[in-house]
C-alpha cells in the first residue's frame, strides 16, 4: 500500500511533531519545520531520524 492521504494525515515528524508531506515525486517525505527528508524505499517510508537528510529546498 503506497503512502496515501490517510497515512499523511497521521504521520508526524518526531523531531518537531509537525505533519510531513510527499516530495520528490512521491519518493520521500519532508517535514516543513526541520526540513528533514525521509526516503521511501520500495514503497516503505524510512521514518528514522538517522536516515533522514536535511534539505531546506527539497520539493
Amino acid at each position: 500500500m503506497p503512502v496515501d492521504a490517510e497515512l499523511l494525515e497521521i504521520l508526524a515528524c518526531p523531531n518537531c511533531k509537525t505533519p510531513v508531506t510527499l516530495v520528490k515525486n512521491g519518493t520521500a517525505l519532508r517535514c516543513g519545520q526541520c526540513h528533514r527528508v525521509y526516503p521511501i524505499k520500495d514503497d516503505i517510508p524510512v521514518m528514522l531520524i538517522d536516515e533522514a537528510t536535511i534539505e531546506p529546498e527539497a520539493g
Binding site: 500500500m1 503506497p2 503512502v3 496515501d4 490517510e6 497515512l7 494525515e9 497521521i10 504521520l11 508526524a12 515528524c13 518526531p14 510531513v20 524505499k41 520500495d42 514503497d43 516503505i44 517510508p45 524510512v46 521514518m47 528514522l48 531520524i49 536516515e51
Partner: protein
C-alpha cells in the same frame, strides 16, 4: 489478582527496579535481527503461534478498525487480520521488513501498509489507532517502558493496547534461570527475564486481562484499554 510472585532476591520497588539484568542498544538488536531475518519464521513461527491467534481473538477487530502492529518483522501475523481492517506495520529492522513486504505482496494483502520506524519514537499523531499491538517486541527493545508510552500516545481513548510477550516466571527457580541466561538470549534476539509487575508499574498500565499463552504457558497476553 493478576500475578502472584513474591518479592525475591532481586525484588525491590516495582516502580523503580531494573526490568532485566540485560541492557541492549537498538543498533545491537538491529544487527541481531538482520541476521535472523532468514530463519526467524522457522525458529519463532510455530512455537509462538498460539499466542498470535489468541491475541487476534482478544482484539475484537471491527470492520474499519485502524490497527498498529509494532515489530511487524517478517509479517508472520499479516494474514491473520481480517481484510476489512486497516493495518499499519512498523519495524526498526529493514531486513525483517523486507521479508514482511514480500509476504504482504505475495498474499495480496492490500489492507496493510509498512513503515520503517523506531517504536520508541513513533512518527504518528496522537490517538491515531483503535488497536495498538506489540507481538513479541517488548523483550527486544532497549526501553520497553518508552515503547509502551508511545503505544499509549498513538492509541485513541477507549482503544486497546495489547502486549504479547514472555515475562520472567513467577517461580523463583525458573526466574533465576531466566535471569542467568538472559545475557545469552539477547544474542538470539530477546531478553528472557523481563519483569512483568515492574513493567506494568513503570509503564503505568492497568490491564483488563493477562492470559497465559503458547505451550508451555510461559508467555503472557496483556490487554489494556487506554483511558
Amino acid at each position: 489478582m493478576l500475578f502472584d510472585r513474591e518479592d525475591d532476591d532481586f525484588g525491590s520497588d516495582a516502580a523503580t527496579r531494573a526490568l532485566s539484568v540485560t541492557a541492549v542498544e537498538t543498533d545491537f538488536m538491529a544487527r541481531v535481527y538482520a541476521k535472523q531475518a532468514c530463519w526467524y519464521d522457522l525458529w519463532f513461527g510455530p512455537t509462538l503461534h498460539h499466542g498470535r491467534l489468541v491475541a487476534i481473538e482478544h482484539m475484537g477487530i471491527a470492520p474499519g478498525d485502524r490497527i498498529l502492529e509494532t515489530g511487524f518483522g517478517t509479517g508472520i501475523n499479516a494474514a491473520l487480520y481480517p481484510r476489512n481492517c486497516h493495518v499499519t506495520g512498523i519495524d526498526f529492522s529493514a531486513s525483517m521488513l523486507d521479508k514482511g513486504r514480500d509476504r504482504v505482496e505475495q498474499k495480496g494483502l492490500r489492507n496493510i501498509r509498512l513503515l520503517e520506524m523506531d517504536a520508541s519514537h513513533m512518527m504518528f499523531a496522537d490517538d491515531s489507532f483503535d488497536i495498538v499491538y506489540a507481538p513479541y517486541l517488548i523483550s527486544v527493545v532497549p526501553d520497553p517502558v518508552q515503547v509502551v508510552k508511545e503505544m499509549r500516545r498513538v492509541c485513541r481513548p477507549g482503544g486497546k493496547i495489547i502486549v504479547l510477550n514472555h515475562f520472567r516466571s513467577a517461580s523463583p527457580i525458573f526466574s533465576r534461570f531466566e535471569r542467568a541466561i538472559s545475557p545469552f538470549t539477547v544474542h538470539l534476539g530477546f531478553k528472557s527475564d523481563l519483569d512483568l509487575p515492574g513493567f506494568l508499574a513503570q509503564a503505568g498500565l492497568q490491564p483488563i486481562s493477562i492470559k497465559k499463552v503458547n505451550f508451555p504457558r510461559l508467555w503472557s497476553l496483556v490487554t489494556c484499554i487506554k483511558d
